[in-house]
Symmetry: C2
Subunit: 151 residues, 2 copies
DNA sequence: TGACATTGTTAGTTAGGCTAACTAAATTTA
DNA sequence: TAAATTTAGTTAGCCTAACTAACAATGTCA
């Protein structure tokens, strides 16, 4: 390992931290899966729908990129959301290839209604933390959010 | 909402934080999925195998509980790992129903070898963080790990 | 105008989660 | 001790979600 002595430890530490982060993410999602299911919409769909709900209309390709999945994957998610009348397609007046997607009123309602329920158990646990702990988590999430686009 | 006035804000904040954590976990895992695939073993299998590799032999039910999946799900994961000769079954001498699982030498090697690669990109990003930032993440992960069993 | 690029869709595969229904073994109880 | 119940795992069947490959339709440009 070629590395300045002071960061050899940082390397070890980062790897250890990466593994723990990975494991924590896996386990967190397995827990939250059930909550999402109770909403009547699967996690991947809820995630895509919330992008449209909070971020506004966009094309399928843009949504796929935002969600970091391939176009076919997003195409299927959108098809399911559309079948449930949660998302509507609109043709792009300027380009006949693109499909613009928009959350319907029902889609917006579902996200709004589900917002609390989806993460209720987790939020309750977080609320039980000491303010300083919550602040630490908050900071860590912000760091992660900054890291993700470059991963 | 019955709550002391000072924690009404904490409730909002917790919910917001829960949503962000959820989204971050989803996106993090989508990124790491590719790395895992390169190892030649899928994420769920790698996770189960590493429990055996680091934590030692245990029964299928214990492993399912540790991984927070149902017994049938774990049964299938284990069958696949066994077919790849990464995990071996041993009968329990005291109880004919239980199946004890142990990582094989090949399984241990795979985890050891894969440890670095699995999270290499993430670890590299983490290493680029300032020590204080890494410490904040570390603390947050520890908090999460403490929270998860009660979720 | 014809070649190429871009946007989405369709088809097919693999993986991982679930529940329900089963077998086999152990334990409890009448 | 025999019957009933509980526990551990497996099998089967279903669903969601990811991928790649191949395709159709549209736009762009030399």
């Amino acid at each position: 390992m070629k590395r300045k002595k002071s960061s050899a430890a940082a390397g070890e530490e980062s790897q250890e931290l990466a593994l723990r982060l990975h494991a924590a993410a896996i386990h967190l999602l397995r827990r939250l899966r059930q909550e999402d299911a109770a909403l009547g919409v699967s996690p991947a769909r809820a995630s895509a729908l919330s992008v449209l709900a909070f971020g506004g209309a966009r094309t399928l390709g843009e949504l796929a990129a935002a969600e970091q999945v391939t176009a076919p994957t997003m195409s299927r998610l959108v098809a399911a959301l559309e079948a449930d009348l949660l998302v509507a397609r609109e043709p792009d007046p300027a380009d006949g290839r693109v499909v613009r997607l928009r959350a319907t009123a029902a889609g917006l309602r579902l996200i709004e209604r589900g917002r609390a329920r989806r993460t209720a158990r987790l939020a309750a646990r977080l609320e039980a933390l000491a303010p300083a702990e919550r602040a630490a988590l908050e900071r860590a999430v912000a760091l992660l959010e900054g890291l993700l686009p470059e991963l």
